[in-house]
């Protein structure tokens, strides 16, 4: 087999294995804890009959290993069980919310990725001069600020004081794309700001790393302009680390979405997860946790595979 294919296959297998282990960990996280799940859902004042009913409903009387495999087999076939609080099918309520969340994350990615790479290039071009310093100062500030603060700051100044965008991101079936985009404008800006800083800083570091190579010096000595050096010689060699950075930050975006959705009351996965954590609805929490972990692991896996494919040294076996 071609060595690249072999490496990619190995990464895929590793990713699946990791996902399997993560699912076990998520399951164990809600089971092997001090006390009884049924008790902690119903509280101290629950009657013994109610406890027994809930235990039977949750299947707590089966051994944990069997429960895990039942749950996992169900999840693989798309059956995530039913929510304790309202008895609805979880997969059904999740699908709409998942697509809403992906819609939000997609637009944030579309704006932030090119912007971050462009600003990273600028920071490298003007290294140690004011554009670079300004960019690193803004980066430091935005890493230190919690997502919900950025959210409320924007909501306060842009939505309430200036009235340019709605403060609550409601989204529905009947809206067309333009209306949807207008209603998610603020959350998209927040998410962009959150990931932009990390992405820019890591892009800058990746390109600076390449800039220290001997062939860059050669290019400079040939008399090429510095943008030409970065664009023609440094950038192609920095693609693998940059793709890595982008994927890591997209994975981060998927998690950042949780908080931003709560701030803007957006009907997505994050809001759904947080609501059900406080209601102690264990099956929903497990299902959401599994999906978030799967997306996160998946993006990390893609990052690895892209950097394998982007490495020309692996393409020509000796």
């Amino acid at each position: 087999m071609h060595p690249v294919l072999k490496l990619v296959a190995q990464r895929l297998a590793l990713g699946l294995l990791l996902l399997l282990a993560a699912s076990a960990l998520i399951f164990a996280g809600t089971m092997i804890l001090p006390g009884d799940v049924a008790q902690s859902i119903l509280g101290q004042s629950a009657t013994p009959e109610a406890l027994a009913n809930l235990r039977a409903e949750l299947g707590l009387n089966d051994p944990p290993v069997q429960r895990y495999f039942d749950w996992l087999l169900g999840a693989v076939q798309g059956d995530l069980g039913t929510a304790l609080t309202n008895g609805r099918d979880i997969a059904e309520s999740l699908s709409q919310r998942l697509s809403n969340t992906l819609f939000l994350a997609f637009w944030a990615a579309v704006i932030s990725v090119p912007l971050a790479i462009f600003l990273g290039l600028i920071a490298v071009r003007y290294k140690d001069r004011w554009p670079d310093k300004l960019i690193s100062a803004v980066t430091l500030a935005s890493i230190s600020i919690p997502e919900f603060l950025i959210g409320y700051l924007l909501m306060f100044f842009i939505a309430v004081q200036l009235g340019w965008a709605p403060s609550v991101a409601m989204i529905g079936e009947h809206m067309n794309l333009g209306q949807k985009l207008q209603s998610i404008a603020l959350p998209v800006i927040v998410l962009t700001l959150v990931v932009l800083a990390h992405m820019m800083r890591m892009t800058r570091a990746a390109i600076l790393n390449v800039m220290q190579s001997a062939y860059i010096e050669t290019a400079e000595l040939k008399g090429l302009s510095s943008f030409h050096v970065i664009y023609r010689h440094a950038f192609p060699n920095a693609i693998a680390p940059i793709v890595n950075v982008v994927m890591l930050n997209l994975a981060y975006l998927v998690v950042g979405v949780v908080v931003v959705e709560v701030v803007f009351v957006y009907p997505g996965m994050g809001q759904y997860l947080v609501d059900h954590v406080s209601k102690r609805d264990v099956p929903v929490v497990q299902a959401c946790g599994l999906i978030f972990a799967a997306v996160y692991i998946g993006l990390n896996m893609i990052a690895d595979i892209v950097s394998i494919l982007a490495n020309p040294r692996l393409r020509h076996p000796k």
């Binding site: 430091l140 600020i145 949780v258 692991i297």
Partner: protein, 271 residues
């Protein structure tokens, strides 16, 4: 110590200020933590310097007490994560073999799930109390400390002086605490600042989501949550704790950057 850069001085000043406010909270807070003293969302005045909150409590007092809770939880979680993470990391580096493999692969596994999501999963069945929060945050964060501690200790473990100590017949305890720990301290201390910020942001996020510190106990994330409805009416009460979180995080960051620069220059530029 004479050449502390101005940014680090600012950072040190504000970090110290916040910690002192946390320690002496009952002495400096003008009102009680949960005492209702005025109208709902009064603007700031001589009586209430930052105004009042959503049910008429003095916002400045709540901020001071809230800072105490937030900083306490973050500090405790950071200490827990450092003690667990660095001891396990050093052990893995010194022992090597299957012990190292098991620990490292387990840490990889935990880090493959986003921290916030894993914390939410665990908190859905645990009672949400301050000790639980510290435990969950500290243990989840110790994975990152473990990685750093192990990486640093693996480097130190092959140094000549460690070899000499082994040949002298020193035990593992001596190797870890007298040889590796002093040499691994500076990168760990620099990392500590970043982990502390992460803990502050994390506990604030959890409280903001309603899954952290429970009312009437105050904490910065919780104050944002309580006052967030005011935003729509143009009342900036929710922005004040968020501002406090941001300034604390930036100051600690400035100090950590300075420590990191100092330690890297000591080691001849090694990161």
């Amino acid at each position: 110590m004479k050449t502390i850069p101005i940014s680090a001085m600012i950072g040190l000043f504000f970090t110290a200020l916040y910690f002192l406010m946390a320690i002496f909270a009952p002495l400096i807070a003008p009102y009680g933590m949960a005492e209702i003293v005025g109208d709902v969302w009064e603007p700031s005045s001589a009586e209430f310097l930052l105004g009042t909150d959503n049910i008429g409590r003095d916002l400045l007092s709540r901020m001071i007490y809230g800072g105490r809770t937030t900083i306490f939880i973050a500090t405790a979680a950071t200490i827990l994560s450092f003690v667990t993470g660095s001891i396990l990391g050093f052990l893995a580096a010194v022992l090597g073999g299957w012990m190292d493999q098991v620990l490292s692969r387990f840490v990889d596994l935990i880090m493959s799930i986003p921290t916030l999501i894993f914390a939410l999963v665990v908190l859905s069945v645990m009672p949400v109390t301050i000790p639980t929060l510290i435990l969950v945050m500290g243990l989840l964060d110790s994975t990152r400390v473990y990685r750093l501690a192990r990486a640093v200790a693996v480097d130190i473990n092959v140094m000549d002086y460690v070899e000499a100590a082994k040949l002298r017949g020193e035990g593992r305890g001596w190797i870890i605490f007298r040889e590796i720990l002093p040499n691994a301290l500076s990168p760990l201390v620099a990392e500590m600042g970043l982990r502390f910020i992460f803990a502050v942001l994390f506990v604030s996020t959890l409280s903001f989501l309603g899954l952290g510190v429970q009312p009437p106990q105050a904490d910065w994330g919780g104050i944002v949550k309580e006052n967030k409805d005011g935003i729509v009416y143009g009342i900036p009460a929710a922005l004040i704790p968020a501002f406090a979180i941001a300034t604390l995080a930036i100051s600690v960051n400035l100090v950590a950057d300075w420590v990191l620069n100092r330690t890297t220059s000591l080691k001849g530029g090694r990161g």
